[in-house]
Subunit: 80 residues, 2 copies
Amino acid sequence: MKARVFIRLKNGVLDPQGKAIGKALTGLGFAGIGEVRQGKLIEIELDETDEAAAKTALTEMCEKLLANTVIERYEIELAK
Amino acid sequence: MKARVFIRLKNGVLDPQGKAIGKALTGLGFAGIGEVRQGKLIEIELDETDEAAAKTALTEMCEKLLANTVIERYEIELAK
């Protein structure tokens, strides 16, 4: 089973990297750029075939390693 | 309009960061971890309301700034 984990900064946490991207885009001549936030995308291949078990394992992985839950939130998406 | 841009390393391009995550997960006791790849997720708020125009602009942003198209591929997703 393939899973995608999205890790984003929580709302309210300053994102200087996103701000820099936004400014660079505006500087390149793109108009109408609002807020830009940068996050991480982690794709994991799992041997697990049961969806519920995979989700439980992935949640644990996020809590233990992948995300810094003080400032980041995570979202898990399982591919078919 | 809100857009999400996923930037991933092309297949065949070595991803040491992903490998490190995979090894760390296995080291933490998670079993059955296959390939792990890390990419970037960029969320952009656009004033543009036309989907086609937004997609064209986003493609140009990816080509010009967001992705290094030699080693990375990008995927654009528009939110409703």
